[in-house]
């Protein structure tokens, strides 16, 4: 047990990190902060308000440089990092994680195993609001669900903040930008917005860690995290809990369905 400032200092000194990605006080709420020298360490903060999933920076090579990078990691950051590691996007030894929920109590995690055991030891409390909204939508008639989503998604301005904020949306060329063929129309319209969200959800199926960064990033508060959330719960129901990796790139001959004729 140690505090954030001391840990950061020792990382710069002992471990020779060039950069610590953490949080600083922002203009409205804490925000991601790139701490590149010991002079900036006092700016680092960590508390319950630190919502951004900074794992999104782990795959941005031009920001990270070549050296060792430290990252102040909340539970959601660690979960995303585990998934990134599973997908071979980050390597062990590339990052040092300063795990914790509060600046007064952090611990240094360096390898996958210790991150895994930290995550296992800190089970997430399900967000009751999200569960409530999910149940509410599930209980609607199909027509009402269609009306609900059509209304919500017709507001979408296609700023792609949901994509940008998601640590697992790291593709260098997104399907939304492919134009031969043009799978998803690039303009904002109810149906093309829906097609975009369907793609996002399908590409997240079984990979989404449920951090809610997409929803928090959305400037219009569209409840798009519910799509991936719904799929996650269906997937663990259909294919078993604790399934890891990309669910859609694997299969089980015993998979059950009830709609094939």
């Amino acid at each position: 047990m140690s505090n954030l400032e001391e840990t950061a200092r020792s990382l710069f000194k002992e471990e020779k990190v060039n950069l610590i990605i953490g949080f600083e006080e922002g203009s409205r709420h804490p925000r991601p902060f790139f701490c590149t020298s010991t002079d900036d360490i006092p700016k680092l903060i960590l508390d319950k308000r630190c919502h951004n999933n900074t794992a999104v920076y782990l795959t941005k090579k031009d920001l990270l440089g070549t050296g060792l990078v430290g990252i102040v990691a909340t539970l959601r950051v660690l979960k995303s990092a585990l998934q990134l590691s599973l997908e071979n996007q980050i390597n062990e030894g590339q990052f040092i994680f300063i795990a914790g929920e509060d600046a007064s109590d952090v611990q240094v995690l360096k390898d996958k195993a210790s991150i895994q055991s930290y995550v296992d030891a800190h089970p997430e409390i399900p967000d009751s609001k999200v569960e409530e909204r999910l149940h509410h939508i599930e209980s609607m008639s199909r027509e009402d669900r269609w009306a609900f989503w059509k209304n919500e998604l017709s507001k979408c301005i296609r700023c792609y903040a949901c994509r940008a904020a998601c640590p697992l949306c790291y593709c260098e060329r997104c399907v939304a930008e492919v134009n031969c063929p043009q799978w998803i129309d690039p303009w904002a319209a109810p149906l093309s917005n829906m097609e975009w969200q369907v793609n996002r959800a399908m590409h997240m199926a079984g990979r989404c860690t449920g951090c809610g960064a997409c929803y928090e990033a959305c400037p219009l508060d569209l409840p798009i995290n519910l799509l991936t959330k719904e799929l996650s719960s269906e997937i663990s129901e259909d294919f078993g809990k604790g399934i890891s990796g990309n669910v859609l790139s694997s299969f089980n001959p015993a998979d059950k369905e009830n709609f094939f004729k």
Partner: protein, 341 residues
């Protein structure tokens, strides 16, 4: 400019008349936590409390997606047809803010500085803006730093200020505005003075001046500040899409069978694809360069080229940013930064 006094309690009566006589009245409407300009059918739908709407008012003249023309193919032949001017509705934008109204000036300049964009101009000519002075503000507002203010009449047709007593002041700037007043002549009483308007306005401290920023940007292209500021930027288009003056767009074809339309839709210089050539070469490959383009375009290139600042200080980009890229804060640090480094 003509000035009138109207009882606050009669404002809705006036709005009712406006709704009755106009094809479309757009006003701020609350939807969950957010506020949008939406068509209203009764005065009660209007939200008067919010500082600004979540999205800007630019969509009244520059929709997110709009048809430029239609095409129809038969055999080897294609015929084109334009959207009729009548399909653009006569519109009153109700309870805009002064920063919304002033935001139309950069758009006017962009769409008319050289070639005239007729589609924009047709929509614009049919728009009347009734803005309301700000009596509140939030931490993202910085209009006074970019030459605006909570009681600014620039760009508006009518500015209404809710005075500290039972009255409201209507300052009529244009012919279009006068027409709206004439819908209910009995509700208005002409006055000479501004009836103590300034005491009813929000206090928004000026944090820098646009001249300061422009001066500093002159030699800032190679400054290290861009990388520093944009490190946390995740490269979405939220700031550009909620901005009242961002007008970059894309042109696309929407084809259905043999028919289709050419449309334009919003785009953002913050996207990596924006400048990328088909060959894969990208003149602005890094996010820091795209962030630099955004600020330089608004605060250096636009004032240089079309004589208007590309920012109204509405603060929407700061409110929308998922990683708190607060533009006023960044501009302040630019105005106080030594770019020689």
């Amino acid at each position: 400019m003509k000035r009138y006094i109207i009882e606050k309690s009669k404002v809705n009566e006036w709005l009712k008349q406006i709704i009755k006589s106009t094809e479309r009245v757009l006003a701020p409407v609350k939807d969950g936590e957010k506020v949008y300009f939406r068509p209203i059918t009764s005065p009660q739908e209007t939200d008067y409390d919010s500082v600004t709407t979540t999205e800007s008012a630019k969509e009244t003249v520059f929709p997110r997606t709009e048809t430029l023309f239609r095409f129809k193919t038969e055999g080897k032949d294609t015929t084109l047809s334009e959207v009729s001017a009548e399909s653009y509705p006569q519109t009153v934008l109700w309870r805009a803010r002064p920063c919304d109204a002033v935001g139309f000036l950069p758009l006017d300049a962009i769409f008319n500085w050289d070639y005239k964009d007729n589609i924009y101009n047709l929509r614009r000519a049919k728009l009347t803006i009734v803005s309301f002075s700000c009596n509140t503000s939030d931490s993202c507002c910085f209009c006074t730093s970019v030459g605006g203010g909570p009681g600014n009449t620039e760009g508006t047709d009518i500015l209404v200020t809710l005075l500290n007593d039972e009255r409201a002041l209507a300052e009529v700037v244009t012919e279009k505005g006068e027409k709206l007043i004439s819908l209910c002549p009995t509700l208005f009483k002409a006055v000479e003075s501004d009836e103590g308007k300034s005491s009813a306005l929000a206090k928004i401290p000026s944090r820098f001046t646009s001249e300061q920023v422009q001066e500093h940007l002159k030699n800032a292209f190679d400054s290290s500040i861009w990388k520093q500021q944009s490190a946390r930027c995740i490269g979405c288009g939220a700031c550009a899409f909620v901005c009242p003056t961002c007008a970059c767009f894309d042109i696309q074809d929407d084809k259905c069978g043999r028919d289709g339309k050419r449309i334009r839709c919003w785009d953002s210089c913050g996207f990596s694809l924006f400048t990328k050539h088909t060959s894969g070469y990208n003149p602005r490959p890094e996010q820091s360069m795209r962030w630099r383009q955004r600020l330089l375009h608004k605060f250096s290139y636009m004032p240089d080229r079309i004589k208007v600042l590309g920012c109204t200080g509405c603060g929407r980009c700061s409110r929308a940013c998922p990683v708190d890229m607060n533009i006023a804060e960044h501009l302040y640090s630019i105005a106080n930064y030594n770019h020689e480094k």
